[in-house]
């Protein structure tokens, strides 16, 4: 399969290591076991000095001769095999294609190797952390789920993309934005505005907000995908642009902000290259409805899940700063959440014409 002339890449070697685990264990008559770092809150710590999340050292053993894990172990080896195949052919693919590639019926049975994609996705993340290889290095990409517009010129596959001349739609952020694939040719913006929802991004783009305030508009349509986060980080790092985050005023909005700022719990191992510890939370704050005169009837009552989530956030070590505790507690005491869309209650262009200008002017943001 592999050509003898090509030297295996570092990632490929790591993937082959999975097979070596099985072979050497079998020789020593030991149970083949992979040590996989635990990806949960209990194994994540907040590095205050660096300002991002770090993964702890706890690992979980996944062994083959264990009824509960045998299938997962088998699937992990199978996924490693598929990923190695990508390396050798130098192709990139999606999570879903990996799932289809590895799915087949086990010989002499009715059983499928995988039943749903939900089974293969976490395995890829497992391999990422175990092998300390990034998803991009594994040649797995996510959907292009973000848009960017602003005074910025990028080079993608040799094509120049001027993000100031892409109309309302902007440029669709690819999932892999490492310098090898995407270069920042020129950037004259003053800051980056990362918006949670596509609706508000469209509003701002349509109103040419970026031209007036000389900024880059970025959205991830909800929880921003890796590409968007990584690109924001690069703009922040390479061009020294401050990043402002505009999200709904609810626990999930707060968490999106914290993911941009400190990294996510699930992918804590990547936060050192994704997190933007200096990102600012520009809105919607729980103080805004009062400050901007949003009527109570455009709020939504917090449901039990919202409240439980907010309480969880209060306990996260990276939300311990006093203003943040106040912010979350204020939302809980009001008992309402507000969507960005609610600003349209005052005026369709309220966001562009009043809200953001005033915020920027008053430097009214949280850190």
């Amino acid at each position: 399969m592999a050509s003898k002339t090509r030297k295996p890449s570092a990632v490929e070697k790591k993937l082959i290591g999975v097979a070596d685990v099985v072979i050497s264990a079998a020789q020593k008559r030991r149970d083949p076991t992979l040590a996989i770092p635990v990806r949960s809150l209990s194994n994540v710590s907040f590095n205050e000095r660096k300002g991002h999340l770090e993964m702890g050292r706890r690992k979980q053993a996944r062994s083959f001769f264990n009824v509960g894990m045998a299938k997962k172990f088998m699937q992990t080896v199978l996924v490693a095999d598929a990923l190695c195949e990508l390396q050798r052919a130098n192709l990139t693919t999606s999570l879903r294609e990996i799932y289809y590639r590895t799915k087949h019926t086990i010989k002499n049975s009715h059983e499928n190797t995988l039943d749903t994609q939900d089974e293969s996705d976490p395995l890829i993340e497992d391999l990422e952390v175990t092998l300390e290889a990034l998803r991009e290095e594994l040649h797995v990409r996510a959907e292009n789920a973000g848009s960017i517009v602003g005074p910025l010129v990028l080079v993608d596959d040799g094509d120049q993309v001027d993000c100031a001349r892409l109309g309302k739609g902007g440029y669709s952020v690819p999932s892999i934005v490492e310098p090898e694939y995407l270069q920042i040719r020129r950037c004259t913006a003053d800051f980056v505005l990362l918006v949670e929802k596509g609706t508000q991004w469209n509003r701002l783009s349509e109103d040419k907000f970026w031209r007036r305030y000389n900024c880059i508009l970025l959205t991830g349509n909800g929880q921003p995908p890796r590409g968007v986060r990584r690109l924001a980080r690069r703009l922040h790092e390479e061009k020294g642009l401050p990043v402002y985050v505009l999200v709904d005023n609810d626990p999930w909005g707060y968490y999106i902000y914290s993911v941009v700022k400190q990294g996510s719990i699930n992918l804590a191992f990547e936060s050192q290259r994704m997190a933007i510890p200096k990102a600012k939370f520009i809105g919607l704050s729980s103080a805004d409805p009062e400050a901007y005169g949003l009527p109570r009837n455009v709020g939504i009552k917090l449901n039990d899940k919202d409240i439980a989530r907010a309480r969880e956030l209060l306990n996260y070590s990276w939300f311990q700063k006093k203003p943040w505790q106040e912010e979350i507690k204020r939302m809980l005491s009001i008992g309402l959440k507000y969507e960005l869309d609610a600003l349209a209650n005052k005026d369709f262009q309220y966001l562009t014409k009043r809200y953001l200008p005033r915020k920027l002017k008053e430097k009214d943001w949280l850190d």
Partner: protein
């Protein structure tokens, strides 16, 4: 109501019309009042007897005739041989197909003792005439309404009389009758009577023509027949369905249930009015003699004690006891501790017979049956029996082409059916097909926590799974909720007994399921590794660029797999090299060992057969036995009959799995 300001008096004296002569005088009203005969009453209220709709009516007619036939045979000590024939009647035109027909001729013939000539007309054409109402003895029929009501229904819907042929022995001639019921007087009308030639030496045959509807499925005649055979494995039943199909349901249990004895009423079971009536009717000359003579479980000493407690002389004449003294006596009786009524008036089916019936009629993997010791409600003794058939019989090897292993797509699942358990209910061996939800036995099934026994059950529902639950109540007087005998009334004592019986069944089922599951999981453990080793090795080989000594790695892993799962020991437990679930025994029957002495002795089938029935029946039975032997796979048939050996066999199978 009243206009304000008006007093009660003024409204009374201010009627809208002057007090006219009453339109109907008391004399005229009196002239209209007359007796209502039972037959008239039930003509109008036929739903009370189970004739609400044509489908149910057809079933009720068959049921009444079959019940009578079985009762008669058993009382005479004859192993019943019953033929049921349903035919469509065209009424002048050619007979329509069974599913569309609205008229049926029902013929039920038995090999019973026959009926003496004089009794034939009242039995078949007089309501509330019968031998069973006045005695306390277990029988299917109770009131003496059934068959005559069926005849009346036929008469009402088709105008045809009931035809009866009966013969009491080979030496006497057979009598043929056509009778109708005079509904006004509740008396039989004889339309035709003659002596005829009949091919049978003994027995009764009744033919009814009724309006009905034949439809298979739940609460159908077919279901009734099937369930009757389960609870009466000593019956040989031939059923000619109206669509031309004939079912031969062989006798699988050759012992006639012990004939129940007639008992006297138990003092706890009577009311004051009943006591007064009995005091008047008795032949005894003293109260003491009356108490000890006319009731069960009252010894002369106990009778004296009761009299003393009631402040009554034991020598007092029963006819002189009225009013307060009678009431005092009644109270004294109720306050005295009396032994429970004798239970020889009952004839429970018995665990072995239930097992045999369930095994024969229902395919499953596990059967069990429980007979409770007798209990008493309102002075009536009763016995509860419960049984259970669980699982699906594995398909015989080679019968079906091996199912192709089709890979499942996402979201697809193996089609596992989630049917609910079927509850089959009986009272005195008669299947109850309607009003399941109102029945005490069904309620007891719902109340039992089947989850404790490894069966899934949603709240307020019957347990789920391939399971048939059998509940039987045998009593001298089964408390039905209505005359049509569809549901057992919910007495606490009855409910408790049913629940206890079901729990015992459940416990045994739970043990069976657990044992089976343990074997399965060991097997699965091994299988998982064996399945996955292949995949893992292939993947590793590809990762290594195809340079791996595949066979060696596989072997190493296999060796570890068998080491990890208990090696040879597991191999043995799994029935050699894990040949799969086919290695499981087809059925396991557990009976409680050492059941009370009432259980009939295991008898050789052929021997009893020959003695008790006429020659034809014994001969006919042979092929049936052969058939059964095939189903039991090997030596299954023999140990099935005994309590202890079955246990052992089950245990043996378990070990080899």
């Amino acid at each position: 109501m009243r206009p304000p300001g008006q007093t009660l008096n003024s409204s009374k004296t201010d009627p809208p019309a002057p007090p006219a002569k009453p339109t109907v005088s008391a004399v005229e009203m009196g002239a209209r009042q007359r007796e209502i005969s039972v037959s008239e009453f039930f003509t109008k209220n036929r739903h009370l007897l189970g004739f609400d709709n044509p489908r149910k009516a057809l079933l009720t007619c068959v049921k009444e005739a079959v019940d009578n036939a079985l009762d008669a045979c058993e009382e005479a000590g004859i192993l019943p041989d019953v033929v049921v024939r349903l035919e469509t009647v065209g009424n002048g035109e050619p007979a329509p197909p069974a599913s569309q027909a609205s008229r049926f001729r029902i013929t039920v013939a038995d090999n019973g003792p026959g009926i003496v000539r004089q009794q034939i007309p009242p039995i078949f054409a007089k309501l509330l005439y019968g031998s069973k109402f006045h005695r306390l003895r277990m029988s299917r029929g109770q009131q003496g309404i059934g068959i005559s009501a069926a005849g009346m229904y036929g008469q009402l819907t088709t105008g045809k009389p009931v035809q009866i042929i009966s013969r009491t022995s080979g030496r006497t001639p057979a009598h043929y009758f056509e009778v109708q019921i005079d509904t006004k007087k509740n008396e039989p009308l004889i339309l035709e009577k003659k002596q005829i030639e009949w091919e049978h030496a003994r027995g009764t045959q009744v033919t009814l023509e009724v309006e009905g509807r034949y439809q298979k499925g739940r609460a159908s005649v077919d279901e009734y027949i099937e369930q009757t055979v389960i609870a009466n494995p000593h019956v040989r039943l031939t059923y000619h369905a109206p669509d031309g199909e004939t079912k031969e349901l062989a006798r699988t249990y050759t012992e006639l249930p012990p004939s129940p004895k007639e008992i006297k009423p138990h003092p706890y079971g009577i009311e004051l009015g009943m006591l007064l009536k009995m005091l008047q009717d008795t032949r005894s000359h003293s109260v003491s003699g009356f108490l000890s003579g006319d009731f069960s479980r009252v010894s002369p000493r106990l009778a004296d004690e009761m009299c003393k407690a009631a402040g009554l002389s034991p020598r007092a004449r029963p006819r002189d006891v009225h009013g307060e003294t009678a009431e005092a006596l009644y109270k004294a009786i109720q306050a005295t501790k009396i032994m429970a009524p004798p239970t020889n008036c009952l004839s429970p089916i018995g665990e072995k017979a239930i097992l045999s019936g369930l095994y024969q009629q229902i395919k499953g993997e596990f059967y069990t049956a429980v007979s409770r010791p007798p209990a008493v409600y309102r002075g009536n003794p009763f016995v509860i029996e419960a049984g259970l058939a669980y699982g699906k019989a594995p398909e015989p090897e080679g019968a079906l082409p091996e199912k192709k292993a089709v890979p499942l797509a996402e979201g697809e699942q193996e089609s596992g059916d989630h049917e609910l358990a079927r509850v089959i209910r009986y009272a005195n061996r008669v299947p109850l097909l309607y009003q399941q939800a109102a029945c005490s036995s069904y309620k007891a099934v719902l109340d039992t926590t089947w989850r404790n026994y490894g069966v899934t059950q949603s709240r307020g529902a019957a347990p789920a799974g391939p399971m048939v639950i059998f509940v039987h109540m045998a009593s001298v007087w089964v408390p039905f909720t209505s005359e049509s005998k569809e549901a057992i009334a919910d007495y606490d004592e009855i409910r408790k007994e049913i629940t206890l019986a079901l729990r015992e069944c459940g416990r045994r089922l739970g043990a069976f399921i657990r044992r089976r599951e343990r074997a399965h999981s060991e097997h699965r453990r091994r299988n998982i590794f064996e399945l996955y080793i292949e995949e893992v090795v292939e993947s590793c080989n590809r990762l290594k660029g195809g340079t791996l000594p595949v066979a060696k790695l596989k072997e190493q892993l296999h060796r570890m797999a068998s080491l990890r799962t208990g090696g040879a020991k597991t191999d043995e437990a799994l029935g050699k090299n894990g040949s799969g679930p086919e290695g499981l025994p087809h059925s396991i029957i557990v009976t409680v060992d050492g059941v009370e002495g009432e259980v009939p002795e295991p008898v050789e089938a052929e021997a009893v057969e020959g003695n008790s029935t006429n020659g034809a029946s014994a001969g006919d039975d042979k092929p049936a036995r052969g058939k059964r032997g095939k189903r039991t796979r090997g030596k299954g048939a023999a140990p099935r009959r005994a309590g202890k050996p079955v246990r052992k066999r089950a245990a043996g199978k378990r070990r080899t799995r």
